[in-house]
């Protein structure tokens, strides 16, 4: 060991003198090597490369420093309170604004950077196209047949979508009747003139049915002898088919001119 220690060489010259020249030179090289290795290990290599605690710390720091792009729910309502209030009561209440509008953190920092607004027809079917794998009850349409080429937002408000639209027109379901009536003398008479339609008929058409005229006098308003309508054929209600309601013999959607 003493031959490796350069300090010992100065103090014990006598002993050192006996050490062969080659060994002394070798000692210098060894010392240089040791110093180099120690310097490399402890001073030159950054500790974050050696200590796992530090390199994990730096990884966590790098990871937490990554840029956020989605602003997260709730923040949109700070400015767009009208839309978010509307949405929170509707069927899309579980959706985050960014589900459709895309990442919007930049928009919250600078309102001039507009987030994505899907207006094309291809966007909504991502969720609402019919797919047998989708859970039962999830509203789905066939994008090929459902009002082709029309953008969804022309009929549906994405911030307050309605469940399958209750048709305003009877013809939506009763297309056959509507076609017949359209060419009949009764073409200009509204369905609701003769039928009272309970609101619930639209939800459960089979169990809640519209009314039919239950008196002969109903038809008599136009077709009775006393009626002032000039364009309606007249009958004497007191003698004409007295035991029956009119529509039991005459088909009111296509009344024949007899």
């Amino acid at each position: 060991m003493s031959s490796l220690d350069p300090d010992a060489a100065g103090k014990a010259k006598a002993i050192f003198g006996k050490v062969p020249e080659q060994l002394r030179r070798l000692a210098v090289v060894a010392v240089v090597l040791i110093v180099a290795i120690v310097a490399l290990r402890y001073y030159i290599i950054p500790p974050s490369l050696i200590e796992s605690r530090l390199h994990r710390q730096s990884t966590v720091e790098r990871e937490t420093g990554k840029t956020i792009k989605f602003a997260s729910a709730g923040i949109c309502g700070d400015c767009h309170d009208d839309v978010s209030k509307k949405k929170s009561a509707g069927f899309h209440k579980t959706l985050s604004c960014e589900s459709c509008h895309g990442p919007a953190l930049k928009h919250t920092e600078d309102p001039d950077v507009k987030p994505f607004a899907p207006r094309e027809r291809k966007f909504c079917p991502a969720c609402h196209a019919y797919d047998p794998s989708r859970p039962t009850g999830f509203p789905q349409i066939n994008p090929v047949l459902h009002n082709p080429l029309k953008p969804c937002i022309t009929c549906h408000n994405p911030h307050d979508p309605e469940p399958p639209r209750i048709p305003r027109e009877c013809a939506a379901c009763h297309a056959g009747l509507a076609r017949i009536k359209a060419v009949s003398p009764h073409a200009l008479i509204e369905c609701t003139t003769c039928h009272t339609v309970p609101e619930r008929h639209k939800q459960s058409p089979q169990s809640v049915r519209p009314t039919k005229p239950q008196t002969r006098e109903f038809c008599g308003q136009c077709h009775g002898k006393e009626s002032k309508r000039v364009d309606a054929p007249k009958v004497d209600l007191s003698t004409h088919g007295e035991r029956y309601l009119c529509w039991q013999c005459h088909y009111p959607h296509l009344p024949g001119r007899t």
Binding site: V35, I44, F70, S99, P103, A126, S133, P135
Partner: protein, 263 residues
Amino acid sequence: MDKREFLKKGAILFISASGVVRHLERSTTASASTTSASTTQKPAVPGYDPASHYYGMGIDVDRCIGCGRCVEACTVENDVPREPSYARTWVERYVIKNDKSVVVDRIETGEGGERKFKEVVDEADILRTFFIPKLCNHCANPPCVQVCPVGATFSTEDGAVIVDEERCIGCRYCIQACPYGARFLNPRTKTADKCTFCYHRVVKGMQPACVEVCPTQARIFGDLRSKASRLVRFQRVNKIHVLKPHLNTEPKVYYADLDGEVR
């Protein structure tokens, strides 16, 4: 210059240079150690203590409509390369046919939101079918961490398995070791890439991007250490299963009402 002179001058140069280097390194390591000391006291995000959290995710299988918004959001948030269809989270469609054979298909989403399937099964031939969102399970006992030869991947204190992309050598061991196929080699950085539970969002109190955008709330993110968290409630009210429990990886992604065919 003879050999002796060369060695002499070399030694003098080396020793003086190492002195300078040592001085420089002293100053940098001193500042590094103070910063690391301060970060162990002060977390990366002010007010955030990783030791008091332990994150997991719940998947409500019956709610997933397979729209792929989560995949798209993850791709955007984490800047995941789009080609060739790499993803940190993905949605599988399981179709169990009448003859009990199973077709598994990963849905592909385009930027506009359209979905594509590789295989279309005739509807009359389907016994049952559903979507399964998948992602890194952030196992409590992660096989990917065990195999990493350079220690580049590890579990954080709060339960996320993350990759040190500066240390990763891209050897793909972890990709092979993951039983859930949750890792891929990022073609841009040439290092292993995976879901981080959106660590950069989570530490700031936000939800991961996929959870944020899920329209049906099929994904539930939460803290397993907090009794009040949505995830703990989710675990309480649902029948929970994890993927491949026999591998003892202790996954922290919990599936409610998972079909037995899901692998």
